[in-house]
């Protein structure tokens, strides 16, 4: 990345949404609990490849990495995550309704 050709810097900024803050908090707290590290977060982000950088937002990439890290740590299983995600999806069509 460092030194690669790139276009102008987009100066637009946004405040973080509640779900993004929760992703951030999950990373900080699971790291403090010894379930993951900054390095294991980054390793999974890098392994997603350059495509993910173009197609996913920052905290979308983060939640994908935290989720994979929790499976690797044995804190949750893929089966549990799949079942819970289906249950959450059935609660409603907005973040507010489902969370």
């Amino acid at each position: 990345m460092g030194g690669d050709p790139a276009g102008p810097i987009n100066p637009d900024e946004h405040d973080f949404a509640l779900w993004e803050k929760r992703v951030d908090a999950l990373m900080v707290l699971t790291s403090a609990a010894g379930l993951m590290t900054t390095d294991s977060l980054r390793r999974v982000l890098e392994d997603m490849g350059p495509d993910a950088y173009e197609t996913m937002t920052y905290y979308e990439r983060w939640i994908a990495s935290v989720a994979q890290n929790m499976v690797e740590a044995g804190a949750v299983t893929t089966e549990e995550l799949g079942a819970k995600m289906t249950e959450v999806r059935a609660r409603g069509s907005t973040y507010g309704a489902a969370s």
């Binding site: 920052y58 994908a64 819970k84 999806r89």
Partner: protein
């Protein structure tokens, strides 16, 4: 709640002047579903509590560039403090009462001869435990790619044109250190109180892409 913003005048904008990102009232995304599911599972299984998550979000919300501005303003008025800050910025920030956690902080002093600017080419390392979360552009591919090869052009796009003879020092946050730039104090602000000076210190001046500005 973070989105209760009826108590100020800029409708649709946050206290920092930026638009809120829609969340509660837009379609539920796959990644949001994942966040809710993972959070609930971690709570149900006893790894985390809802109170911990709430407290962590509050702690991050309370961190802002105003913290760093207080550090810089004190460095401007107190040479001994500045020397201590340059020696060990983490210790000095903790002594001022800022809860920066385990963060290792290095302060970089701008002078007539040297201008410092901070980037993280590998990810998005930022002194978040002091200044809050980084702005979007800091995490962008463009800023991360270009700052190490054409810092002067990047800075000029931020409106900062440095004299040719001034040395630019680009700091790539590659590992465990985080960085805060101590901008040079503007002459127009000489003689002001520490408290008044803090209002001059912009976030961008502490990243190195801007200068301190007289408060509006």
């Amino acid at each position: 709640m973070p989105h209760d913003h009826h108590d100020h005048s800029h409708e649709g904008l946050s206290t920092s002047g930026h638009p809120y990102r829609a969340d509660n009232d837009t379609g539920l995304s796959y990644w949001q579903v994942m966040e809710i599911a993972l959070r609930e599972l971690l709570i149900e299984k006893g790894y985390l509590t809802a109170a911990q998550i709430h407290a962590q979000i509050n702690a991050m919300d309370s961190r802002s560039p105003a913290n760093g501005a207080r550090v810089v303003a004190r460095a401007w008025v107190d040479p001994e403090f500045k020397a201590a800050l340059l020696d060990n910025a983490s210790e000095v920030s903790r002594a001022m009462g800022f809860d920066i956690g385990p963060m290792h902080l290095i302060a970089l002093e701008n002078t007539d001869e040297v201008h410092n600017v901070v980037v993280c080419t590998l990810c998005s390392c930022y002194p978040r435990n002091l200044l809050g979360l980084p702005p979007d552009w800091y995490k962008s591919r463009a800023y991360r790619s270009r700052t190490v090869i054409e810092p002067r052009k990047v800075l000029s796009e931020f409106g900062l044109n440095l004299p040719e003879q001034m040395q630019v020092r680009v700091h790539d946050s590659t590992a465990d250190m985080r960085y805060i730039v101590i901008p040079a104090q503007p002459e127009d602000s000489f003689g002001l109180s520490e408290e008044a000076l803090a209002a001059w210190v912009t976030r961008d001046s502490m990243i190195g892409v801007g200068l301190p500005l007289a408060p509006k």
